[in-house]
Amino acid sequence: MENKPLIGQPLSRLEGYEKVTGNAQYAAEYNIPDLLYGYVVNSTITKGKILSVDVSDVLALQGVVKIFTHENRPSLAWFDLQYADMDAPPGTVFKPLSDNIIRYNGQPIALIVAEDLETARYASTLIKFVYEEETFNTILSQNLDKAREPKIGMSTPLKPPPPKPTGNFEQAYASAEFKTEAKYRHGTEHHNPLELFATTTIYEGDGKLTIYDKTQGTINNQLYVANVFGLKYKNVRVLAPYVGGAFGSGLRPQYQLFLCVLASLELKRNVRVTLERKQMFSFGHRPQVIQSLRFGADNSGKVTAMNHNAVGETSAYEDYNEILVPWSHKLYPAANTLFEYKLAPLDLATPIDMRAPGGVSGMHAIECIMDELAYKLNMDPLDFRLNNYSEIDPSTQKPFTSKELKQCYKKGAEKFGWHMRNPKPASTKKGNRLVGWGMATGIWDAYQFPARAEVILTKEGRLEVHNATTDIGTGTMTVMTQIAADEFGISVDEVSFFYGDSKKPFSMFQGGSAITASTGTAIVAVIRELKKKIIKKIKDSPNSPFKEIPEDQIVFRNSGLSVKKQPDLFITFQELIKANKGKEFKAAKLAGPDLLKLRKFSKATHSASFVEVEVDKDLGTITVTRAVTAVAAGKIINPKTARSQILGSMIWGISKALHEETLIDPNLGKYMNANLGEYHIPVHADIPEMEVIFAEENDGLINELGVKGVGEIGMTAIPAAIANAVFHATGKRINDLPIHFDKLMGHHGY
């Protein structure tokens, strides 16, 4: 019997059993003996200095083991570079407890270590800090005068500044027959994965640590810990077999890791530090952003001029960058463009990438102004996009490795019933509710990072695959197993994927929708290497039936070796191992994108979303009732887990458009809704009927697998599609996200 191709099969998650039985262990769940508990104390002022610390009441408490503050922090690495993780933006990295300076509200200023969790937590209420406060700035809209060019640093190649202007925007805009301009405001958002950030450190003695950490990058955090604490790389092992969501928040080592390791090394004990939910608002976040756009079009409905300026928030110590403004020119071939991106430093923690960073905020503005322009032109919004469709990338004039956006528009519109839309705003009613339909385009990059994989055909005839990547809920473990099984001609049950461990071969952190392309491609490459080794061995061995068979005729299938046109000639992997005197076969290989080839192309994933909303006429409450997203993201390895990625990111889009925002009190400089009761994310009752369509997209150029990644693309079109649907329902354009009923009632907009 022939194995079915495993790529493309909707396999259920292979770790499903562990997750539904509670056996899956997350970072805070390793209950090793003699564990101490650390509790973090955070600054209650926004800017200034600590003048003194009084720990006497804490020390008097039974069960308290140690208090760490800036006053007694042991001296550690002092080069900033040694604190710089792989995702560190330009600037000066924050070094916990290194001085008495307060840079933002919620900054960690002490760690209390006690025999149990309750004592550590209670003790945190007894420590007294005397501060000297300074005035501060935390609201972007009040500090636009501080906006300046972002600094250049190591991460700049991954997040380049906006492209140079093309044509003459001002002239083209002035003479455009149709034009529209608008401002868009986005508030702060926090990732809030459901699992709290936590680290459990096992002190192994002799400068050796085993660390269970909540992270998206085991190797990133291993290097960070080794560099900062002066340990040998091989003595630091970071494990993250299960990660309870991250969405970008785990791209950089967070402060609980630093504090937990500090305590563990100083006390020579096993230590756990878990953050509380309110502390999940005390490190990175999606930044506040203000965008101004001006788009112009000619009589024939062609966009001729595009100007997109954005100002984002960063901290006073690092320049966090997003790619916000260049997206329109990857879609629409306007001859005249002008893009600008600036940063205003504020007294807040440095922002960090949050699902579809930059893209989702930028595309919201772009696709709303496109909708507005379509209305000015009296064109259907979808026809307007099609009228400005480009097969090549207008910003580089290079062809795409593949682009099936047209298919997304077509299939999405059909499924949704877009052609039945009455374009007139506020024209469709359902009882007391106004019904609106909106659509938007989505785009995201298709990244691939270098990755190394190791494979072993074991003595038992099983395939082991090793790579350091995490699986943050994306389905990575299942997908990698499928890729490996398919390439080696073995069943999924006979493959074990070992991951989430810094000891394994290199993987970048899991971000940017890049891991399937990165680790997946490395797995294909290393298995091909393994197959070559095996073929050589079998052809060289005496009396081998494969001796005379040309190499390219030998195939791996059904857990053994066979010959293309002679299926009867077959030996199992077990027989192969026996022929190899019981010895296993091994291979390791580093693979990366084919830069030479890809230089001639642009690469992107695309999507189109169609949304229906209902707006209560009296109360202004908005409900999404239907949403369809069609995605073109190359080959889909597992339609079940990929669909879940798209559904999840559609909900993130709904949340961004209608629900979530962290609110800052400008007088206190502090987040006011740092809990899950007041930081609103959609609950089950908010979830509409949703459909996901995958366009057929064959990409023979992007990488061996033809995959592009599905982690963020499903989110990028939704906020604009919702805002456009709200306009269609009510005739009001609200450009200030999230759209809440009060904005609609007052229609103050931005």
């Binding site: 259920s12 998650r13 770790e15 499903g16 059993y17 562990e18 997750k19 539904v20 039985t21 509670g22 056996n23 262990q25 997350y26 805070a28 769940e29 209950n31 408490l61 039974q62 149990d116 969790l117 309750e118 004592t119 209670y122 809030n192 994965p193 459901l194 699992e195 709290l196 299960y242 309870g244 969501g245 969405f247 878990t274 509380e276 939910r277 943050i472 809920g473 994306t474 389905g475 079940k640 887990t641 669909r643 879940s644 990625q645 559904l647 999840g648 990111s649 559609m650 909900i651 993130w652 809990n675 899950l676 009761g677 994310i681 959609p682 609950v683 089950h684 009752a685 979830i687 949703m690």
Partner: protein
């Protein structure tokens, strides 16, 4: 914390009897996770706002983070570790796997325990009811549709009997 006298508390957890010396301020959630190594029950907020810590107490769903363990003296608790019948998964557990009703899996134990309690309450008739009555359990990954699909499949099975 001045009065450090612990209280003898008897709990039956997943059919096993425990006699525990507990300080009165220790939550049921921290008792399970930190003292009994039953880490299947999750902590997402410790404030009754996310549902990740849901367990069944005498058959009813409760938030173990808002429950002081000593107040449940004599109660029968079922956590996610006790939901399956040996190796044989509970129908909801199977349905969750089949419908891909989780991504990171961190909300999953709470969702499953909550769904068991919710179905027992017998108040839900429609899909909309189920969505409403499950809304105390957040899922940040956005696996919501799969979760509701899985529950509906099991519910329809029960309604059929």
């Amino acid at each position: 914390m001045e009065n450090n006298s612990s209280i003898l508390t008897s709990l039956t957890i997943n059919s096993k009897d425990y006699k525990l010396e507990l300080l009165p301020w220790v939550s049921l959630l921290d008792t399970l996770r930190e003292r009994l190594n039953l880490t299947g029950t999750k902590k997402g907020c410790d404030h009754g706002q996310c549902g990740a810590c849901t367990v069944l107490c005498d058959g009813k769903r409760i938030l173990s983070c808002l429950t002081l363990a000593v107040t449940k003296n004599g109660s029968d608790i079922t956590t996610i570790e006790g939901v399956a019948d040996g190796k044989e998964l509970h129908p909801l557990q199977k349905a969750f796997i089949e419908h891909d009703a989780f991504q990171c899996g961190y909300c999953t134990p709470g969702q499953i325990c909550s769904a068991i309690g919710m179905l027992r309450e017998g108040k839900a008739t429609t899909r909309e009811d189920v969505k409403e009555l499950m809304s105390g359990n957040l899922c940040r990954c956005g696996a919501n549709s799969g979760i509701i699909d899985a529950i509906m499949q099991v519910k329809e099975g029960i309604d059929h009997e």
